[in-house]
């Protein structure tokens, strides 16, 4: 119960941070980092996987509503929610069965970063590809995805360190 409340609280905080602050930040002129996928990325494996897809759908819907992006965010976040257990399983063989918590202390720095980077890249690459929707812009999409992934990953890593130091 306590973890659910904490999750709802962090959901509100993360979305407020994304919508009020990050939507208005741009790095190098065009790069706009997305931090809110952390809510799906770190979804505890003990919790229902179907629910994570439903929550991803809801969060994506909110982002699309605010950004006028049709269903692009919904699509990318739902994809992330679906492939996430597969990514984790590729790093830790029995992660899903054991219901590991997805955080820095459990996975260790290198696995945590690999997982975060893979997840975020999936999200950004899917999002930007659909947004551009042209082969001619492939490299541009790739560069934007890599850069955004790097920035978001660093932010998520920093969040984890911050939570560690609190405990």
């Amino acid at each position: 119960m306590r973890t659910v409340l904490l999750y709802v609280l962090s959901l509100v905080l993360v979305m407020a941070f994304q919508l009020l602050l990050l939507e208005n930040v741009q790095l190098l002129g065009y790069l706009n980092p997305y931090y809110y996928p952390i809510l799906i990325l770190l979804w505890p494996l003990k919790w229902n996987r179907g629910l994570s897809i439903v929550v991803a759908f809801g969060l994506g819907f909110i982002m699309d509503f605010i950004e006028n992006s049709g269903g692009l965010h919904t699509s990318a976040l739902v994809l992330l929610a679906y492939v996430r257990p597969l990514l984790l399983r590729s790093l830790v063989a029995r992660a899903v069965e054991e219901g590991l918590s997805v955080d820095l202390p459990t996975l260790g720095p290198s696995k945590f970063m690999t997982f975060t980077a893979m997840g975020l890249f999936t999200f950004h690459f899917w999002l930007f590809s659909l947004e551009a929707f042209a082969w001619s812009e492939f490299f541009w999409v790739l560069i934007r995805s890599l850069a955004s992934t790097a920035v978001s990953a660093v932010m998520i890593y920093a969040t984890q360190l911050l939570m560690l130091s609190k405990e």
Binding site: F65, E67, G71, Y82, F128, E131, A132
Partner: protein
Amino acid sequence: MRNLFRFLVRYHFFLLFLVAQVWALTSAFRIRPYHQSYAWNSAQNAAASVQKVYTDAKNYTRLRKINRDLAHENAALRARLSGSRMDETIRKGAVQDSLQSYTFQEAEVINASFHKRSNYLTINRGFNHGVRPGQGVISPRGVVGVVHEVSKHYATVIPILHRRTRLSGSMARTKHFGSVLWEGGNHRIATMVDVARQANVKKGDWVLSDTRSGLFPSGIKIGQVKSFALDPSSQSFVLDVALSVDFAALQTVYVVENLYKKERRALEVHAEPDTP
């Protein structure tokens, strides 16, 4: 039946994923007619009013710059008043007359993006204020874009920074036409294509709006030529244009209504060539 049930249980995550994905993608790529209102869009009031509160706060910190822009525009307009011109015509029974053909509705940008491949603006004027889809939008600094969708109190605008944008522009010095579009990336640079080879383009030339589209009065700034090259296949110039509007800092805009649009459309419909 039992097999179907087992299939559903076994793959229910995947099916859930599939349903959500199909729904998201169809709403992203469904063709949206201009006038059709659309369920999740910031022209809808809920999102727009939330954004308004936030933008109001943000704009308060930019008042100095906004005032300067408006003062610049006032100065330019003052220079165009008849009182500030010397009239050298000899009136010999000449009738001086003019009809207003454009009206302007001021509006405030309450939401904007510029870092995506296709960006949108939301403005705080809508159907009730006379804004209609397809009208042009300009700012004190130059051309902004075209109204996309309209609700009672708000409207969304497709700015130059959009995949589908193709604005007609003309070179200020030589009057040659071209189309302005945006290839993504830097939000200060657009591309102008199909400028005739005879145009004798120079760096620093102004690109202005023209009346071919009927969206804007002629002579509104679009940008300045930054670099140019001759496209060998079409034998026309391709220009990099430094946009005069900074879409990262845009507040006051005007929605342009062309009072003679209908009449012109009705006439031009007959002149359009058969499309294959």
